[in-house]
Symmetry: C2
Subunit: 576 residues, 2 copies
């Protein structure tokens, strides 16, 4: 364990006080769903000073090729697995390989003292963790870049402040659900002949058990923070299982959270790491462990469905992947709208769960300020907007970043071949671009192909790669219907509509509501169209195959704890 630091004396009660006003603000933001964040989103030196960015980079580099120090129980070996998508070099970091039984035993033991903390104290500790994690945002940015392949800015904000905000959001929801249960009550009732009886009642919140949090490769922490804080708040310990190529950000986070626990005088085993390698996976062993009570999963739809089916005796929360649609109908400002869309198609090489993939376009084209624009012209505009954004290596680097997995390049190749074989057209080919800072980076500009609506076997699944299908539909209505049906049947996390027609928009809202999918309308180039704001956007509906949970709502937290009750008569003579 790291040496105790001077502010060792901050007890959970102190931390509850320290962060009480922030908890209030978070609860307020969840209710109003206005923009709010207690974290710094920008890595600018103007905010952080000149030295912090360089220290972060140096800190990351100092970790390479060494054993990662993490003092936790049950270490039985080491795991060395990660390769940087930017350098294609192994990171060479050796993490503890853990014995699952020892992890679960340690986690269960840690839950006993944690059980005694009030919700306010738990919130205080979790907030303290969040700010401690923010302190390492620079090192985390480099760790995220070199595992997930994100660009520096996204790795700093999207995997830093924005992800922490999601954790605090879940914290607030858990607090709210627990606050709904009073701790004591008096109850009095007239039982006729025997007279009035008074009962003193007390209610104790109980955790369920140990949670296993399965993280994904491209956003290692974005769903991990909400899961960890939802679990800690409700009394459950969390074992984090990172993707084999995304261990470092998770390991850094686990270590930091454990340090905060120790400083608060608590058992650090409320948060544990279970790293593995692709060749020796331990996920199923963890999920099937008798002591695993809760599963929080982010990753592929296939494994998510497997978990939902085979781990039904645990509480299971999943966020997987969607076949995200865009319906084009009509535009007031086509440049701004297609600009926003092109940004979304390029952003992090479409490796986000919210990335658009399928652009449903009426064969007769769209209306632009009332004028007709044919399919080919719209398609060319989209391809041009993407070509424009990827022409300069510097711009491509900032927007597309790196491709996390070699398989994504294979997928691009496969899609190209299958589309051409089926008579579709490649409108803009994918190519590697030369990253200005990392000459060996695994990169790919988006592949843009056009297919017919009938060729659903080409576009009807999520392709985890920068691939965009322009789908020729019979009409706007047909486009809407096809997109909504795919959302319902194949899953969607974010769907997009561009229309200048209020009636069409209203109809689309009804259809997507029936499909159980959320819809972003006319999102233009003034912000990333697929930005998901903590405290404001309900991320994932849970109504389609893209996941069964929303991060965060009351359903995400209310069942993670249960209520045990005691009652006893008040002696007849006792005061009212």
């Amino acid at each position: 364990m790291t040496a105790p630091e001077p502010d060792m004396t901050a007890s959970p009660a102190d931390l509850a006080k320290r962060h009480a006003s922030r908890l209030e603000e978070a609860l307020h933001a969840c209710a109003t769903r206005e923009q709010w964040s207690p974290f710094k989103e920008s890595p600018s030196s103007k905010i952080h000073g000149e030295t912090r960015p360089a220290e972060g980079k140096a800190g990351f580099e100092a970790l390479l090729g060494k054993a990662f120090e993490l003092d936790q129980p049950g270490t039985v070996g080491t795991v060395v697995h990660e390769v940087s998508p930017y350098t294609l070099e192994p990171l060479g970091i050796a993490y503890p390989k853990s014995d699952p039984d020892a992890l679960f035993d340690a986690a269960r033991a840690a839950m006993k003292p944690w059980d005694k903390l009030s919700p306010d104290e738990r919130a205080g500790v979790c907030f303290e963790m969040a700010f401690a994690l923010e302190e390492q945002a620079f090192i985390n940015a480099h760790a995220t870049m070199h595992t997930a392949g994100q660009a520096y800015l996204m790795a700093f904000s999207g995997s830093g402040a924005n992800a922490l905000d999601r954790g605090v959001e879940a914290l607030a929801y858990a607090y709210k659900a627990m606050a709904d249960v009073p701790r004591v009550a008096e109850w009095e009732k007239d039982f006729g002949r025997t007279g009035r009886v008074r009962l003193k009642k007390s209610f104790r919140l109980r955790a369920r058990g140990v949670a296993v949090v399965v993280c994904c490769a491209t956003f290692p922490l974005w769903n991990a923070y909400p899961a960890v804080f939802a679990n800690l708040m409700t009394g459950n310990a969390a074992i984090l299982k990172p993707h084999p190529n995304g261990i470092l950000p998770v390991a850094l986070a686990v270590r930091r959270m454990r340090e905060v626990l120790v400083k608060a005088g608590l058992d650090p085993n409320m948060v544990l790491l279970a790293a593995d390698e692709r060749e020796a996976p331990i996920t199923i062993e963890l999920l099937k462990h008798p002591a695993c009570a809760i599963i929080d999963y982010t990753g592929s739809q296939r494994f998510g469905a497997w978990i939902e089916e085979h781990c039904a005796d645990r509480l299971v929360y999943t966020e997987t992947a969607g076949c995200n649609a865009v319906v084009l109908d009509s535009f007031d400002d086509i440049d701004a709208c297609l600009g926003g869309l092109a940004n979304g198609l390029c952003g992090f090489s479409a490796q986000m769960c919210t990335s658009p993939q399928n652009i449903h376009i009426p064969a007769q084209g769209v209306r632009v300020q009332g004028e007709a624009m044919d399919f080919e012209a719209v398609a060319t505009r989209i391809a041009d907007a993407i070509a424009d954004r990827t022409a300069s290596p510097a711009r491509a680097a900032g927007l597309c970043a790196a491709v996390q997995a070699e398989q994504s390049l294979e997928l691009i190749k496969e899609v190209r071949e299958r589309v051409l074989a089926a008579g579709g057209e490649v409108l803009l080919d994918s190519r590697p671009y030369a990253h200005p800072d990392f000459p060996n980076a695994r990169t790919a500009t988006p592949l843009v192909v056009s297919v017919d609506a009938s060729q659903i076997d080409l576009y009807g699944e999520e392709v985890f790669a920068p691939v965009c299908f322009l789908i020729r539909e019979a009409s706007s209505e047909a486009a809407l219907e096809n997109a909504a049906r795919i959302a319902a049947e194949r899953g969607a996390i974010s769907s997009y509509l561009y229309s200048a027609d209020r009636d069409f928009i209203a109809d689309a809202q009804d259809r997507f509501a029936d499909a159980g999918a959320s819809l972003w309308i006319n999102m233009d180039d003034r912000m990333p169209i697929n930005f998901a704001a903590a405290y404001s956007d309900y991320h994932v509906t849970g109504l389609n195959p893209a996941g069964n949970a929303c991060l965060a709502d009351l359903a995400f937290v209310a069942n993670r704890f249960r209520i045990v009750q005691f009652r006893e008569p008040v002696p007849a003579g006792a005061a009212q």
Copy 2:
């Protein structure tokens, strides 16, 4: 459908207004957990007038031997099954036999207009239903007596006002969970170079689909009302599947709720009946139907576990059965305490999910006001208290009522034989008592046997019959440990402790909390010890095999609906 009545004009909006203050009161009661009820619990003629009780009885008798009029879709035949535990005569009532596909189709169609109602309107309609159901409390009392075997008073209050209160409690929780989601929001954020972006967001609550509510034989409506109201509030239609011998109370309730829906101008198929016979069960077909989204189950632990395992792709809420323990340690007022306990052992012939069964008694006896009382003396006291309560047929009738199923009599026989074969002792034998009003009634006074703690194969399962095990334990601590372990491993809904020692009570609370079981302490004879108060007691913890849900808490309702979101930029020129 029944003919429209004069107050046909009460729209959902009218009903929302009519019941708004009651909704506030229900929400308040859930928060304070004080006693509250808008319903009349007593069947006294002083409250209801002289004619209502007789009308109720006559109304019940008029139903016998006839077709039950219920105009709902998909009727493909009739179901005639029920036999009265009081007369052992068939009721001869013929209910519609339904085609499941037609029921699900009708339910799904009904959900579309219902979807448009606000939570307040839904609450208004549900409250209106509850009061309409209260109006038929007398006929329901007779229907419940002659199917479940309950005594008249319990059938009137326990299956009337008390059950409706549980429905309203679930309604209030659903309202609260839905109120947590705002319907619109404005969100504004600075995106640096592109400036501030404002988004208008809207949030739409979506139902999950059709719920199947499986009711039990002995309390046909007690868990049905909470399930139905939780589902209706959150937008889900409910198909009620009664126990083959408990159709009438459910059919009466379904018909009444459908009438209220019609009067409010709504599709009555939000509530449907699916009756079956033991020889041709349809429960599994309903639960496995592709359109079944939610299962609310009350019944045996075995079938409940089957559902949890095999219907994991649905939302499943279960309340099954527990092996409810009583731990005896010490007493201040042993007469009042053992009197309360004896009432609990006799009450409705122990056919309640809250009925005590296993009395764990230290071999060296208990302390009574500081004095020792040996095991045999305590055992004799308990047996005597039961004998005393069952000596007079009139008193036995009011307390023990009738035995719902012939199998319960078989169980008594089996337990007697197994206990004697294993060297245990029968301290008080079970016998039929002569019911003063129904000479053919299926009755049985409690069987009281004594066994050793080691003989868990004799007492370690719920015996659904009036059977009470006095279990000889090494010490109070051993009694506590054994009782808590059985609660955790075999399930418990209500557990009981009698102790005058505050330290022992505190220890017991910790042990039962760890076991995931609620504990009622020193409950004496001034009220039924196993009375579960809506709005106040959290019924079932969900932490042990006696069920996975609590009726009601936020977890019981929060996942029955989901959130679909829309968002759109506010044009740059729009007003703040």
